[in-house]
Symmetry: C2
Subunit: 469 residues, 2 copies
């Protein structure tokens, strides 16, 4: 591990007045957006995006309140008081520079970003890099600093700049060496003025184009809603199926939005979704198909909210994901068993066993594949392979009075998907073997990895065979 | 990646006469033991045990036949002809030394070892290390070279040595610098003589005690059976449940032994086990409980043989393990559905849904846990948590005419195990949180990993929530 001194640090600028948000009652850095005070969101986003080194929050206006909050929430974050904050936010950056590692991120506390944008920014080379956005979807072009670009670099910037190519997204990577010479004179000193000074001195300001990634700056109470939209837009699951994209997420987004500022945890949402599924199973087993079908779909909608909520609050965890996944399997089992028993026909029960086996084996093959190979092929998220589609078909079958047919459809679709994955497994093995034979004739020194490939699975030892608990 | 020159190499000594195996008709290195010619087994074992550098097979007696086989099987292994082999196997080592990297393993082609023993040997520090065995279970103390040990080093060696502490297991790590000065004179030169010369010159011969690990040397036709025993002993699954240990493995070992020298692949055994399960499901669904129960248990026995066969032939693969695991889930689904439908009672069907959900969710929680955290706690292999036990209960229930009760028992046991694992998940999360709070007050530089822990799951992004296909 590298020492903290050589790791990427960060400075969060949280010293400004934030007058237009005075109505919120608290200092701007403590205004809650999508469940988190802005300063907490900024620090968490930076950490989640890959900032591992010293992180610093620069406070000024109502600095004591902000400092107290930061110290209580992040014992490992340093707070720097900037008595000069009234001269402009440039003084906050220059004040922090001597305390930061050689390379660091500068973030505005009132700019809401995703960890992914931070990752993209810090992967961009350069002594001074600005995140810009050529296709802003949530930020206000009238408010933001505009930039003009030439061959991937910022060449001019300003609030009213015309023409302009992109907006300044309020997120930067800087090197100490670049910023240290730029201070000095008394008088107003904005961060924009420092950037202009850098350009005037012949420095290169590289641009990292976020190109439509969700972000927003928060200056007015109205901006808060826009920022929440941006946060929620970034929580879309990458494995959403058809029904999730077109129905569940639209309904679920409203629920998630309402939950954001409550104390309800994502795990509790997972449990609520499971409870709804259990209730629907009871109704279905008793023959109340319509009511049961509605609850199935509600449970499916709510199932998307736990992850959204966790991601929006930047508190996703692998444990939460495992809990959600296991509860989903239990919920599916209850729903399918309830529907099969409620069908009161032998073929409904047979279809139920097929559907249950399929609904559990599709995610099982994914999990087992991921455990064995570390990643899962894109094509595993096919039309019929996602939970939202399975539950949608079951709900529809219940509502239209054909539960057994719905079970059969789900079971047959899932069985086909499992077979498709087993064929992919076979393809993977044959591919490995071909690769081996092709490289077989080369010289040993080019084949260091041959042994790894050939004997790769063996180290796992006991994983094969009998005890598959 | 390090260059091939700096990686651990290996020399397999395959030049000797092997007179007592002449009856086998082929040169000793080509005598098949547990499905593989000795020389192929030696090379595969070394590779699987971690040898990544230049590997060399030294041939002498009937060298052309052995060389041709090695070249056809391993294009990346070098063959060295030793015209002097009749002077003793020491000449084979010294002849190979100039062509080998600085550090290399020396293996006797007629000593059968496991990859794990190779791993342990090469992890032992020293310029010259010998694998020895203080508790030999398969080797013949009358035949083998004996060694006397003092504080972890070999201090004397010889065929008839008395008293002795361990057997020489015919597997060494040497450095070129240690061996280069030890040649020279004409006349007989055994590998044992070289080791004695090294000791006499004040060199240290470190001992790596295999302490009962399965290995055997093969000099006579009778030795072959002993070596097969050793190979099979090393294939025991680390996750065997109660029934597997006490019943299935005993029956299955005989089947595996018969399959070793056939062309049947492990995947084909997996498919046969699945086919048996499908046949048993058909019988159970028709109400033929006794016949169905017998087939269930046979399928369970055969399920252990695919992994044994793959490990004995040193051809385990992650793909084979995934195939086996997915087929096992399908087989369980068929057996449980067949039994539930065959019970012809509503409560049998209800118990069937519970059993099917449980039998699939127990392995699902394991796979999902492994995919998320990379390793699985020991306690996941509890009494009721393994497939052999679930199938044993079902087979017994069918044979004794109480299929519904057996399904209920399997379902209840599995449900309890799933709940136990969810509690373990909760414990894991609480543990993480405590760890975080404890270390929260320390200085940043000691907390480089804090960010990783706190935001660990987030990088996975889309894994949470809706689409769980």
């Amino acid at each position: 591990m590298r020492s903290a001194g050589s790791e990427l640090g960060a400075a969060v600028l949280a010293a400004g007045l934030g007058e237009r948000l005075r109505a919120c009652g608290c200092p701007k850095p403590l205004v809650r957006v999508a469940g988190l005070p802005l300063v907490e969101r900024a620090v968490r986003t930076l950490r989640a995006g890959g900032v591992r080194g010293k992180t610093m929050v620069v406070v000024g206006h109502r600095g004591e309140e902000v400092a107290e909050f930061v110290r209580s929430r992040f014992p490992d974050v340093e707070v720097l008081e900037n008595p000069d904050y009234a001269r402009g936010n440039g003084t906050s950056v220059l004040g922090a520079v001597p305390h930061l590692p050689e390379r660091f991120v500068v973030a505005m506390v009132d700019h809401v970003h995703t960890p992914d944008s931070v990752r993209r920014l810090i992967a961009t080379p350069g002594d001074f890099v600005a995140a810009v956005d050529s296709r802003p979807s949530f930020a206000d072009p009238g408010e933001a600093t505009r930039v003009r670009l030439e061959s991937g670099r910022v060449v001019a910037l300003g609030k009213g700049l015309e023409p302009y190519d992109a907006l300044d997204a309020g997120l930067f990577v800087c090197s100490r060496a670049a910023l240290e010479p730029l201070g000095g004179e008394p008088g107003p000193l904005s961060w924009n003025a420092i950037k202009r000074k850098w350009l005037a001195s012949g420095g290169e300001l590289a641009a990292c184009d976020l190109a439509g990634a969700p972000w927003a700056d928060v200056d007015t109470p109205e901006d808060i809603e826009r920022a929440v939209d941006a946060v929620l837009a970034a929580t879309r699951g990458s494995r959403d199926g058809f029904i999730s994209r077109h129905l569940n997420r639209r309904l679920g987004r409203g629920i998630t939005r309402r939950l954001l500022d409550t104390s309800v945890t994502p795990d509790q949402v997972s449990l609520m979704s499971f409870a709804l599924a259990a209730a629907s199973a009871g109704l279905l087993a008793r023959g109340s198909l319509a009511a049961g079908g509605v609850l199935v779909q509600l449970s499916s909608v709510l199932d998307g909210c736990d992850g959204e909520l966790a991601r929006a609050r930047l508190e996703s965890s692998a444990e939460g994901q495992v809990l959600d996944a296991v509860l989903d399997r239990g919920a599916d089992a209850l729903i399918i068993a309830g529907m099969a028993l409620g069908s009161r026909s032998r073929w409904g029960v047979q279809a139920g066993f097929l559907a249950l086996a399929g609904a559990l084996m599709v995610p099982y093959t994914r999990a087992r594949w991921e455990a064995a190979f570390g990643e899962v092929p894109e094509e595993f998220t096919g039309f019929a392979a996602t939970r939202d589609v399975r539950l949608g078909v079951l709900a529809l079958g219940a509502l239209t009075g054909v539960p057994a047919s719905a079970l059969l459809a789900v079971g047959a679709g899932a069985a086909a998907e499992v077979v498709r994955r087993l064929l992919a497994l076979r393809g993977r093995r044959l591919g490995e073997r071909d690769g081996r034979e092709e490289s077989g004739g080369e010289h040993l020194s080019d084949e260091d990895t041959l042994g790894d490939r050939r004997f790769g699975g063996r180290g796992a030892g006991g994983a094969y065979g009998g005890g598959a608990g």
